[in-house]
Amino acid sequence: MKKQNLIVLVGGVLFGFGLAHSGMTKQEIVLSFLQIKDLGLIFVMGGAALVTFFAINVVPRFIKKPPFGSQFKPRKAAMSRNVIIGATIFGVGWGISGQCPGSAVASLGTGNLPILVGLASIFIGAYIRGLLDKE
């Protein structure tokens, strides 16, 4: 296995373990956040973003480039209409089902077989996005 893939796999295991520990792999818990019954999700996203903030903004001051990669580059997407329209459509889907892409993938590891329907549907949605891309 390529070193990069091995690193990503290990990081992914931590990511998935954390999602499961925080309950985000359970659609019911995500829905209870969206229904304003349990606001814990804020701490999951906030905790993850805070740790990642140091990795993206502080670590590159001490090491010039990633040892197994080419460069450090913060994730700054350009603003466009699609960003907002897409976020709106995503919000509707998230609110209906309590699934988002990462939590749906990880949920498979909790034995939640119905999530296969959700994962197949996310693939279909991503495919339709590709069909509509005029580029």
Partner: protein, 153 residues
């Protein structure tokens, strides 16, 4: 506000952040999730949208990331999980309809709860902040409407 406490939420979030950070520091990759679906489709569709150079370069590590996620959640289920293996009671039609909108919307927006919500916010991207406010606001309204019309959970 927090009927289940906050500790496990915070610890889980920090673990997610450590995973994302480990990957970023060692490889420079942003371990975001929704791109996995687009890059994986590049193995099955010849369309230009999926065959972009970047997708072909990223599809292998993104597949490893997804496999890691499943293994990580499985390890948690076998060790620390109070409930063990588990099945959602959210109806299949909601998983199907919601899933399609999630797939389409995140790819149009080029980010999801992890792309905009973790890596984007951590990069202090105002675009991502706007996206997070929009998808969270819309999801809260949607989830409450779904509940109001008597669909549960």
């Amino acid at each position: 506000m927090f009927p289940l406490g906050i500790e496990h939420y915070l610890i889980g979030g920090i673990l997610v952040g450590v995973g994302v950070s480990l990957i970023y520091i060692l490889t420079g990759f942003h371990a975001t999730q929704s791109s996995f679906f687009t890059t994986t489709l590049s193995w099955f569709s010849k369309r230009k949208h999926f065959q972009k150079e970047r997708n072909l370069q990223e599809r292998s590590w993104r597949l490893h990331l997804a496999i890691g996620l499943v293994i990580g959640a499985l390890l948690h289920t076998l060790t620390l999980s109070p409930t063990g293996f588990w099945t959602t009671s959210v109806q299949l039609w909601r998983l199907a309809l919601g899933g399609m909108l999630v797939g389409f919307g995140t790819r149009l927006s080029e980010g999801c709860t992890s792309g905009h919500g973790i890596s984007g916010l951590a990069s202090l991207s105002t675009t991502s902040l706007s996206a997070v406010i929009v998808f969270m606001g819309v999801a809260i309204v949607t989830a409450n409407i779904v509940q109001l019309i008597g669909v549960s959970p």
